[in-house]
């Protein structure tokens, strides 16, 4: 029942990398968050005169027409003026209402409502549930107020974006949806080392990860990132794939590679030079730490070509990222 007139090219809007916060919010907010409810509605057998009274009392300029719980039309102040001009104040609403109506669904993005408004000169659009029953009504003013409210919240705290991020996988359906975070790590750059892991940690927090699981990912990722900083010739890449139930960390580099993987995996084995030890690293505990924090672990390396480490952390029962907790 959702209307999608398609008169606005959403792709060209989205391609604009310069989306303002408000533009973003138009996509992120759903109609339910901005609509007015409960709805003042009229019945088809009420007279136009009664409609006028009702609109005046509620201070509104139009209302959906409902018959036995079903939405059958919409009638506005304009229709009322036309009826009064013709001296038809006792006509039933049914005769003056518009039956070809636009609707939006409550779980549609606000952009759907904006597109509907752009497609026709209407002042209000009824909002329906997935089952098609009338649940609210939305006007241009509702959308503006909703955006201002969300912008304001955004300003005051991280909460809205936290809320948005924490639902990222909710409406996206595929056989395997994942979010990929990729970071480049420079060798021996101790002033930025750890930044990638810190960002991964924040991302997982925003996605609603439990502290215990987020900590395991953060520690594993940090040790792996530090190994790129400390032991590689040219740095490497940290790639984190986030799925609702698990997080995979992959680090790759182009050398020098590890000649004796068995020894490298032993707790306490390290080839780090003294100056690294003075910084608090190089105790030979990193790989062991990563292994302890993860549920799957693999390390492959070839001298001269490079090293690839994969660590997967399962989030555990009841902790699914990017989904609203069931209430």
């Amino acid at each position: 029942m959702s209307s999608s007139p398609g008169s606005v090219d959403t792709r060209s809007l989205l391609q604009d990398s310069d989306l303002t916060k408000a533009q973003e919010l138009v996509y992120e907010l759903v109609v339910r968050q901005v609509m007015t409810t409960p709805v003042v509605s009229v019945q088809p057998d009420q007279t136009m005169h009664e409609l006028g009274e009702k609109l005046r009392a509620a201070g509104i300029a139009g209302a959906p027409v409902v018959e036995q719980g079903e939405l059958i039309g919409i009638v506005s102040m304009n229709d009322l003026i036309n009826a009064l001009e013709r001296g038809s104040r006792d006509d039933p609403v049914r005769q003056w209402m518009t039956i070809d109506i636009l609707t939006v669904r409550e779980d549609d993005s606000v952009i759907e409502a904006v597109k509907a408004f752009a497609s026709r000169p209407v002042g209000r659009i009824p909002v329906v549930s997935a089952q098609g029953s009338l649940v609210g009504i939305v006007t241009g003013g509702d959308i503006t107020r909703g955006l201002v409210r969300a912008l304001d919240l955004d300003h005051r705290s991280d909460e809205v974006s936290h809320y948005r991020a924490s639902h990222i996988f909710q409406d996206i359906s595929s056989h395997d949806t994942s979010l990929t975070l990729r970071y480049t790590v420079s060798p021996r750059d101790f002033s930025h080392s750890g930044e990638a892991s810190a960002k991964v940690k924040r991302a997982l927090q925003r996605l609603g990860g439990r502290p215990e699981a987020v900590r395991r990912v953060a520690v594993a990722c940090y040790e792996a990132e530090m190994n790129l900083v400390i032991h590689t010739d040219a740095g490497g890449e940290v790639l984190v794939e986030v799925r609702p139930d698990r997080v995979s960390i992959t680090t790759t580099d182009a050398g020098p590679g590890i000649s004796d993987i068995e020894s490298a995996l032993e707790a306490g084995f390290s080839t780090a030079p003294d100056w690294i030890r003075d910084l608090g690293f190089g105790a030979g505990m990193g790989l062991e730490n990563i292994r302890r924090c993860s549920d799957e672990f693999s390390l492959r390396s070839e001298v001269g070509s490079g090293t690839k480490l994969v660590a997967v952390v399962y989030l555990g029962q009841g902790n699914r990222l990017g989904r609203a907790p069931r209430s």
């Binding site: 953060a218 608090g280 505990m285």
Partner: protein
């Protein structure tokens, strides 16, 4: 023990701004090896360390620690304080050495991290 008590017991200076001194620390962990901190510390613990680089702050952050107490009287690097301020990690500083600072806190009732392995 609250940070306020930590500050009083060891005569610490608070280096970051807007620190909530009523924040509780569950226990304490002292180390100059970051991997040890990552492997053995507990969330909510106070980190005692003689290292002064920003990596100390990163490590404490990754390990969900409550606050950092720098010991031995060396002044931390400016970027260490800046990073701590930036991510909201309380940074304290005490003049005395690790052993003395740890001893004072322990006597005042703050326990070490219990090893579970």
């Amino acid at each position: 023990m609250t940070l306020r008590e930590v500050v009083r017991v060891v005569g610490a200076e608070v280096l970051t701004e807007d620190v909530d001194l009523d924040r509780e620390v569950a226990c304490a962990f002292g180390a100059d090896l970051m991997s040890d901190v990552l492997a053995l510390s507990r969330p909510g613990a106070l980190l005692l360390t003689g290292l002064m680089q920003p990596q100390v702050v990163r490590t404490a952050d990754m390990a969900d620690m409550a606050a950092i107490l720098l010991v031995r009287g060396k002044r931390p690097q400016r970027d260490t304080v800046a990073l701590a301020q930036d991510i909201g990690m309380p940074l304290l500083w005490a003049k005395e050495t690790m052993f003395t600072v740890a001893g004072r806190l322990y006597s005042a009732g703050l326990n070490g991290v219990e090893l579970t392995r």
